[in-house]
Amino acid sequence: MASEVHVETLAVREQFDTASQQKNASTLGMWVFLITEIMFFGGMFLAYTAYRSWYPNVFGAASRTLNATIGAINTAVLLCSSYTMVLAVRAGQLGRRKTIMLFLVLTIILGFVFLGIKGYEWWEKFEEHHVPGASFHLEGTPLQGQAQLFFSLYFAMTGLHALHMVVGVGIMSYLLYQTYVGKYTAEYYTPIDVGGLYWHFVDIIWIYLFPLLYLIDRHGPKP
């Protein structure tokens, strides 16, 4: 009896009694982690809300210099990657190794596309002298400090998001490898499930960042 208690498998580690228990625990753990991430980003959402309420016009003007089309395309890319991710999870539920790998690869590729587009956007901002610092200048307003504040928040928020994407791509790569060597079955695909939750969460953050950063006051001030 005692010796059997201490045998460990992937699906039921030592401390757990049943596979369901482990899966529930892992899922709950990932959800709790995600709400810590909500609060982590939350601080910057507060800064954005406060300063936007104080400087609506400057923030609007600054926001209009962002390329909303590219932002929308990037949003679509990320939504597609969520789609491929959930299909990977589904394949995990059904225990189909090759399908999992296919969709994980697609997710990773889409993740890179997103990061690439983001990198391009940032480079554009750099060229336009919209990067906060000594050479910052936004045309059309004397309130350079406040305009710089918008861009600081823009870079900080999209930067933190991009960092989470990079980590996400890393996690996907790890999951890809683990799938390749056959660690996952229909009984135990929890890491894919949990990795999926992370990926979708990063997507949700972007779902909010896009309108808040790109679309405010997009129509411009009244003539």
């Binding site: 009896m1 005692a2 208690v5 201490h6 030592e14 401390q15 757990f16 009694d17 228990q21 529930n24 625990a25 709950l28 753990g29 709790v32 982690f33 709400i35 810590t36 991430e37 909500i38 609060m39 982590f40 980003f41 939350g42 601080g43 910057m44 507060l46 800064a47 406060a50 300063y51 104080w54 400087y55 906060p132 610092g133 309130l143 400090g145 406040q146 710089q148 504040l149 600081s152 928040l153 870079f155 900080a156 933190l160």
Partner: protein
């Protein structure tokens, strides 16, 4: 626990009990570092002039005292040592839900601590533990970023511990262990974990923003660019007020256990005490603006936060009354842990009631940023939590080590600590109302008498803390061997040998009684009451 030997077996352990002991060593180390700073502070404050150390050094001393004591000692203290060791056992589990993450938590604390120590050794940091901008972001030329990084990393240690506890308590209780049969220690640590998980990330992002502001001058806290220094304060205190409840709730959990065992009665109003723990955790998130009353926050916001601050006092009141009522018609033992429990209740009462003073807007205008606030929080954190921690250590020492501590020395230490503590911090209430500001290196002559009293108390206090350090170590070798349940306590942890084996229970216990049913542990019985 002695299953395997060697450094590697400790550094790569997954056993929650070993991790708890790793934490014990680490936080004791940090406590003494913080205590040395406190001692230097108090010696400097013996005289009105700044003569022992330079102004800059003094500023670094109190900053590092606060940072080390809060982030590297008190926040991890009870949850990561006593909580880690006993929560799985109390719920009848073999380990926590994520043992390797538990180990990672410890490593994160150590790494964060190394950054903090680096900052100390390389020259120190002088922003105050509160890092107010723009001083910390644009004016201080000390090791702000290193310290912020250390705090950031330690924050994740805290988050992961909280996450682990939450998942464990939800999913791994033994059969029959429903929520309302859990020991109150588990309830308190669960509530603490909620705070850790919801609040600490905001501290993390705040440290990131301080780093960005300091390095890249992004302007988020800089008025010249349209930023607001008060935004920093909102972000910082959104975590740091709940953080103080992280610091006290586990202590309250310990006290619930101690009061119950040493009165040999169930805690009066168990359900209320359990709910109050969660209520404190939740309500504690609504009050952070009470640290910003004179900071330039709007008057209306001040009213909102003051109002809500009084709500969070009520669950604490409920607990104090319930603990006191537990003594009624009990069978009271004066063992050392009980003395610490009494100390906690008394000193937490005083400290908590003075919290009501500072929550009153009209009074806080006068006493904020004075020694009154220092006295308020040292009463709760030192007179409260630290005493609870010591009480818990003494209580569970036999279970952890299999040895008893020397009761006579322990009682003496408790008394010395109690007297030394009050002598140190009670004069500070008077100092504060008189107008002695905090973070002052030199002060006006008329404050000296009270400062001398305070320093005298601090010396007594130091002796009081040194004694347990010595006799606990002594008892490992020479202490009386303890059995499985020397206190006749309830709780699943007392049903294992002392010290417990690697997987705690050979067979999963099945729980059929409520939490504090002493009829199961007291053998032959004389009924009283």
């Amino acid at each position: 626990m002695n299953a395997s030997y060697g450094i590697k077996s400790w550094l790569f352990t997954k056993d929650h009990k070993r991790i708890a002991l790793l934490y014990l060593a680490t936080i004791t180390f940090f406590f003494f570092i913080g205590g040395i700073f406190a001692t230097l502070i108090r010696i400097e404050l013996l005289t009105p002039k700044g003569d022992l150390v330079s102004s800059d050094t003094y500023n670094k001393l109190f900053t590092m005292h606060g940072v080390i004591m809060v982030f590297f000692f008190l926040i991890p203290s009870i949850p990561a040592t006593l909580g880690n060791f006993f929560i799985p056992m109390m719920i009848g589990a073999r380990d926590l839900a994520f043992p390797r993450i538990n180990l990672l938590s410890w490593y994160l604390l150590v790494i964060g601590g190394l950054f903090a120590i680096f900052a100390m050794v390389a020259g120190g940091v002088d922003t105050g533990w509160t890092f107010y901008t723009p001083y910390s972001t644009s004016y201080s030329n000390t090791w702000v970023i290193a310290t912020a990084l250390g705090i950031f990393i330690a924050g994740f240690s805290s988050i992961l511990t909280g996450l682990n506890f939450i998942v464990t308590v939800h999913t791994m209780r033994a059969p029959g262990m429903t929520w309302f049969r859990l020991p109150l220690m588990v309830w308190s640590n669960y509530a603490t974990s909620l705070i850790q998980v919801l609040g600490t990330p905001v501290l993390a992002i705040t440290m990131v923003l301080v780093f960005c502001e300091r390095t890249f001058h992004i302007g988020i806290f800089d008025p010249a660019l349209g930023g607001d220094p008060v935004l920093f304060q909102h972000l910082f205190w959104f975590y740091s007020h709940p953080a103080v409840y992280i610091m006290v709730l586990p202590g309250m959990g310990v006290i619930s256990e101690l009061i119950s065992v040493y009165s040999r009665k169930a805690v009066f109003g168990y359900g209320f005490v359990a709910f109050s723990s969660v209520a404190i955790a939740v309500l504690g998130f609504l009050v952070w603006g009470h640290h910003l009353f004179v900071s330039g926050q709007s008057l209306y916001a001040g009213m909102v936060f003051s109002f809500l601050s009084y709500f969070v006092a009520i669950p604490s009141a409920i607990k104090v009354f319930n603990w006191t009522a537990t003594l009624y018609k009990g069978s009271i033992s004066f063992a050392t842990p009980m003395l610490y429990a009494f100390g906690f209740i008394g000193l937490f009462t005083i400290g908590g009631l003075t919290g009501l003073f500072v929550a009153a807007l009209g009074i806080d205008v006068h006493v904020t940023d004075t020694y009154f606030v220092i006295a308020h929080f040292h009463y709760i954190m030192v007179g409260g939590t630290l005493m609870a921690y010591l009480g818990g250590l003494h209580y569970w020492w036999p279970k952890i080590t299999g040895r008893m501590y020397p009761e006579g020395w322990a009682k003496l230490s408790a008394l010395i600590i109690f007297l030394g503590f009050n002598l140190t911090f009670f004069p500070q209430f008077i100092l504060g109302y008189l107008g002695m500001p905090r973070r002052y290196h030199a002060y006006s002559d008329e404050f000296q008498v009270l400062h001398v009293l305070s320093t005298a108390g601090a010396s007594v206090l130091a002796v009081g803390y040194l004694l347990p350090a010595i006799y606990f170590v002594w008892s490992l070798r020479y202490g009386q061997v303890a059995g499985a349940n020397p206190w006749k306590a309830t709780g699943l942890e007392w049903q294992t040998p002392s010290p417990p084996p690697p997987h705690n229970f050979e067979e999963t216990p099945v729980v059929t009684h409520d939490a504090y049913d002493y009829s199961t542990t007291v053998g032959e019985v004389i009924e009283v009451g």
